[in-house]
Amino acid sequence: MGIESAVLQLRRGDLDALSTLIGRYQNRVYRYLLRLVRQPAEAEDLFQQTWLRVAERIRSYDTSQSFEAWLFALTRNLAFDHLRRIRPSSLDEPFGNDSPDDTMISRLASADPGPLDQLLARERTSHLVSALENLPVSYREVLSLRFEEEMKLEEIAIVLVVPLSTVKSRLRRSLERLRWILETSVGNEVRE
């Protein structure tokens, strides 16, 4: 069953269609939730709430739009509501704003590129995951949507409900911040 027909059938109240959609998107939705809330138990709870919300609100989904963007926007809203309730401080804005002019490039320019190369060659995955977890949630989600979900900038803008220019600047800042964290952690390891 294709996504479109599953959506249409779910709108008619067919729960088997929901099973199809869960089966198709479960890994991606769970991964996105885990990137946002970081705790597997919370991610699993939100996962269930997400699909309940999908079943309840499927009639409000505009079929001319991307289902994926609608699904991830819904997932994001639930995750942010949860974070606002449980850990409001985790939603604090990262330093600086989303203005494209204010960048971290100058800070990165002074970093020694050598250790970063070594680090990424050696223990790339574990360091990247740990660096990713140290990013503010608004940076983690944009990186996850772009690199893991492989969404286009336009789709990310729909999910985040922000203009395209904001998505671009946030993506650049999140990459710069990630690199800065990676290089800082390498610097600390070298000093230790």
Binding site: N27, R28, Y30, R31, Q48, L128, F147, L175
Partner: protein, 160 residues
């Protein structure tokens, strides 16, 4: 633009280039620059290492029973909601039924019992007492029917 400005301008684009979100013209301009500038090419390589790493991050797997748990939870919620809707509808219909029986039944009751009223010489206050009893019985019948329907529906759901 001086040579150092050009480097800075080009390097500013590297994060978005590594994310694959630049337009083809800008990408081509950067490619021309990095073809002749080894330090910018090396810097771009570092950004691409990061973006490549992000693309290859392992996908965390949800627990195997999460799928079944979610499906069962959604089905139970939707069934409970449907039952609530059905109960509400039944209640509305019964209220209408009770009012209809009460309002339409009263004239009939009057006509049928007119003989009795004259025989027992029932006064106006007692007449209202009869009316109240009749209404109470009607509502009681409606309420009992609602309760019985609800119990039957719940039993059917449990069997299903």
């Amino acid at each position: 633009m001086t040579r150092s400005d050009e480097h800075a301008e080009i390097r500013k684009q590297f994060p978005l280039l590594a994310a694959g979100t630049l337009d083809p013209n800008t990408e081509a301009r950067i490619a021309v620059h990095t073809a002749t500038c080894s330090s910018c090419a090396a810097e771009l390589g570092r950004w691409q290492l990061i973006s490549g790493g992000l693309r290859r991050l392992p996908t965390p797997q949800p627990s195997p029973e999460l799928y079944e748990r979610t499906r069962a939870m959604v089905a139970a919620h939707l069934a409970a909601r449907a039952e609530q809707r059905q109960n509400r509808l039944t209640l509305i219909l019964l209220v209408f039924f009770s009012w209809a029986v009460m309002l339409l039944g009263w004239p009939v009751f009057r006509v049928v019992s007119s003989g009795l009223i004259s025989v027992f010489d029932i006064r106006f206050r007692q007449l209202w007492l009869l009316f109240a009893t009749f209404s109470a019985l009607t509502w009681l019948a409606g309420g009992s029917a609602a309760a019985l329907l609800s119990v039957r529906h719940r039993q059917q759901r449990r069997l299903a």
